[in-house]
């Protein structure tokens, strides 16, 4: 694509040079022939050269995007160069050619070459002006811009040609008419300039000066082309049409830039307000984009103060933020933290932080000097930043001595503090949802750990029914139970509950499983196992975490139960329509050092009879809650047990779970529920 467009530029440039060369040949061969045909041919050649140059320039122009201001600047430079060339031609050319008038009558080769280059240079100037004016005109984006401009160009050409062909007095009115129409069209096309409205104030001032200089230069250049000086003689002598075209383009230029000057002048008083509005719009756009993107609260705060500062034209801005009950300065702009803290103190002495509802201005009683910038602040505005109706912070903007906050300033700041509120709330909600998601993932992991820790299958012991139920809570509760096949006739069991919930509880469960699994292989006596477990866990757990556990074993030949309890729920023994709560003394694991733990830990043993039922459970059973937050309770639990002495282990566990489910059907399960039941046959 790039290559082809370059080729096209080349083709047009080649055509331009070809027509220039033809002009040169024409001049050499026909000299100053005055026939109508030669006039027509010659003017056509000039028109061709301008046309091709314009096309080449348009192609070149399209390949880059330049701001209107830089285009105007280019025109200014070119018109200044043109001005100097015209002036210098008056001095230089007479030295080269003794008498211009003579040369015009009888041009030699030298004169022809020089004048051709001179003409081509001016064709270049004219083309560039025309192109720039076209570009500026097209910026208006109105309907039919192309038609307006091209109509004007047609009259330019008509007027130019009539200068050459209708020199006769009787038809000179035609030329004049064309010229007047062309000028009217120029004026019409120049009065609707709107592109400069979007410039900043500085650019407008720059444009104001530039357009004045350019229009003056154009007028000067016109007047020096229409006099009897060498410049006009050369061009006129070359082609009167070209001379006229040159003049017309220059007139158009001077009108355009003159109008531009006044339009800019009228736009100047509102430039500042316009700048501010424009900045407000861009800031709001930027900020609303930010709201959806920024996750970090500090980034957000920085942006809020930065934009508030620019929008209100303040000298300094910061946020007073409430964190852990203390007020701190945040995201300071153009003010040190020491000064902002002093000012914040003055503010909070005069207005109650929580009760700030709308943006207010305060005149400072003690003016504060800012060290770095040397500003002396005397007036400040304060706006609340609220989330869920509660004031979380105050956006403060300060102005230096002598300045005031206008209504616009205040509404801009207020808009911004509102935006800040929304943004901060958003980022907080996002953080919450991320946190929630993280927690849910964590709980998934915890549940997975727990599932793997608990026994896969219930061991098979002759003469012993075994049933176990485990119902996990949403937040993993840290319940653990296990069976250890010590020998063919001895079955060890453990039931434990780790304090705390979630993944940390799950990890401790894993540790507890490891401890009991290894201890049960080497030690038989429950008290000793719990002593060792306490020793290990005491050093492994932090001082607010502990594990309640009960360990014991059933000897099926001896028909005996050995049992010790470390802070865990008691064991129930169901025998002959009665039940017994077995609760030997013992501290939870990890609560105290082994010395004390040893002193308080009792071991219990009891001979078992046929049909004895042993029930172990965790507090999830007795603390299951109904919709009134009442516990399932020891009493209800014991009643089920008392009535269930003749049920099988499986039947009893089903009965208990059923009762709990009915009881707590309207309340979420808060803790793990674990139940282990043995029944001797």
């Amino acid at each position: 694509m790039a290559k082809t467009s370059k080729n096209i530029v080349n083709v047009q440039l080649q055509l331009f040079f070809l027509s220039a060369f033809l002009i040169f040949i024409f001049r050499l061969l026909l000299g100053t022939s005055d026939t109508l045909l030669s006039k027509i041919l010659f003017d056509s050649l000039i028109a061709c050269s301008i046309f091709f140059l314009l096309l080449a320039l348009i192609k070149f122009e399209n390949t880059r995007s330049s701001s209107p201001l830089s285009l105007v600047m280019n025109v200014g430079i070119l018109s200044a160069i043109m001005f100097f060339i015209i002036k210098f031609s008056d001095f230089l050319l007479p030295y080269l050619f003794d008498n211009i008038n003579l040369k015009l009558q009888n041009p030699g080769l030298g004169y022809n070459i020089v004048s051709l280059f001179y003409i081509l240079l001016f064709i270049g100037f004219i083309s560039y002006y025309l192109l720039t004016l076209r570009h500026l005109f097209y910026l208006n984006q109105g309907k039919n811009v192309k038609i307006y401009f091209n109509t004007m160009l047609v009259f330019f050409v008509l007027s130019s040609l009539s200068n050459n062909f209708f020199q006769d007095k009787s038809v000179s009115f035609l030329g004049n008419t064309f010229f007047i129409v062309a000028v009217l069209l120029m004026i019409f096309n120049s009065i609707r300039i709107s592109w400069m409205a979007f410039l900043s104030k500085r650019e407008k001032i720059y444009l104001l000066i530039l357009s004045l200089v350019i229009s003056v230069l154009f007028i000067v250049n016109i007047s020096s082309s229409s006099g009897d000086n060498i410049h006009s003689q050369i061009i006129d002598g070359f082609s009167p049409s070209l001379s006229q075209f040159n003049t017309i383009v220059m007139v158009y230029g001077s009108i355009y830039f003159f109008v531009l000057f006044f339009t800019t002048l009228f736009h100047l008083p509102t430039a500042e307000a316009y700048d501010r509005k424009a900045q407000e719009v861009t800031s709001l756009q930027y900020f609303s984009k930010l709201i959806t993107e920024v996750l970090d609260f500090n980034d957000l705060a920085e942006t809020v103060t930065d934009i508030a500062l620019k929008l209100s034209g303040s000298g300094a801005a910061w946020i007073i933020w409430k964190e852990d009950g203390k007020l701190i300065s945040l995201a300071n702009k153009n003010i040190g933290y020491v000064e902002s803290d002093k000012l914040s103190l003055q503010i909070t002495e005069r207005i109650e932080f929580e009760k700030l509802n709308v943006t207010k201005t305060l005149h400072l009683k003690e003016k504060i000097n800012e060290v770095d910038q040397g500003n002396r602040f005397s007036i400040i505005s304060v706006s609340p930043i609220k989330t869920r109706g509660v004031v979380q912070g105050i956006l403060v903007a300060a102005k230096v001595d002598g300045q005031i906050f206008t209504k616009d300033d205040l509404s801009a700041i207020e808009t911004f503090s509102d935006y800040a509120s929304v943004a901060i709330e958003n980022s907080r909600l996002l953080e919450e949802s991320i946190e929630k998601e993280r927690l849910e993932k964590e709980l998934d992991v915890a549940r997975e750990i727990q599932r793997k820790i608990l026994p896969l299958k219930i061991p098979d012991y002759p003469g012993l029914q075994i049933a176990s139920v485990f119902i996990p809570a949403f937040e993993v509760g840290g319940d653990y139970y296990d069976f250890f096949e010590i020998s063919k006739t001895k079955l060890g069991f453990v039931i434990a509950d780790v304090s705390g919930k979630g993944i940390s509880a799950a990890f401790i469960m894993a540790e507890v499983k490891g401890i009991f699994e290894s201890l049960s292989k080497t030690i038989e006596r429950p008290k000793e196992i719990l002593l060792k477990a306490n020793d290990i866990l005491r050093s492994a757990l932090d001082n607010k975490t502990f594990v309640s556990a009960a360990y014991g074993y059933i000897d099926t030949t001896e028909k005996k139960l050995y049992f010790a309890r470390a802070g865990h729920c008691p064991l129930f023994l169901l025998r002959d329509n009665d039940f017994k709560q077995i609760k030997p003394s013992g501290l939870g694991l990890g609560l105290s050092d082994n010395n004390y733990f040893d002193q308080t830990l009792e071991e219990y043993s009891i001979s078992l009879k046929k049909n004895d039922t042993i029930v172990l459970y965790t507090d999830g059973v007795t603390e299951a809650k109904n919709e009134h937050l009442e516990d399932f309770g020891d009493k209800q639990f014991s009643e089920i047990l008392r009535a269930g002495f003749d049920l099988t282990a499986e039947e009893l566990s089903n009965k208990i779970i059923q009762e709990i489910t009915v009881f707590s059907s309207n309340h979420a399960q808060y803790d793990d529920i674990t139940l282990v039941i043995f029944k001797l046959q």
């Binding site: 840290g478 509950d497 780790v498 304090s499 705390g500 919930k501 932090d542 001082n543 607010k544 975490t545 502990f546 309640s548 470390a566 802070g567 865990h568 729920c569 008691p570 003394s585 013992g586 501290l587 939870g588 609560l591 105290s592 004390y596 308080t600 507090d619 937050l629 516990d631 020891d634 803790d671």
Partner: protein, 116 residues
């Protein structure tokens, strides 16, 4: 979930923390802050009144364990009072009565501090 709140009042050089509501893993930090603050201010004679406490979970129990050592190292103590039967049972299950002095009335605990 149910709410939990605490209030601290000074009785001589004894600080009394009143617990209200549900003390579990989620609300435990409130009580932890209370203990941390008291210890920071070198107040080691602490009585915890359970009168208005409706429920305590294992994580709630852990809070007392976390601070007892540093309090006792500074010749202070944490004494527990006014427990409902339900709350006492939970403490009892874990063997807390072996580790802590538990009194029926707040005044008894304060008196004990003054006597020592």
């Amino acid at each position: 979930m149910a709410e939990f709140s605490t209030s601290i009042k000074e009785k001589g050089d004894v600080s009394v923390i009143n617990l209200k509501g549900f003390l579990d893993a989620h609300t435990a930090p409130t009580l932890e802050n209370n203990f941390t603050q008291l210890i920071e201010n070198n107040k080691y004679k602490i009585v915890v009144n359970f009168e208005d406490l409706a429920y305590i979970s294992s994580a709630g129990l852990g809070v007392f364990m976390a601070y007892i050592e540093s309090v006792r190292e500074n010749k202070g103590d944490i004494k527990l009072t006014n427990m409902s039967d339900k709350v006492y049972n939970i403490f009892d299950l874990l063997g807390f009565p072996l580790l802590y002095e538990i009194y029926k009335k707040e005044e008894e605990a304060i008196k004990k501090f003054i006597e020592s």
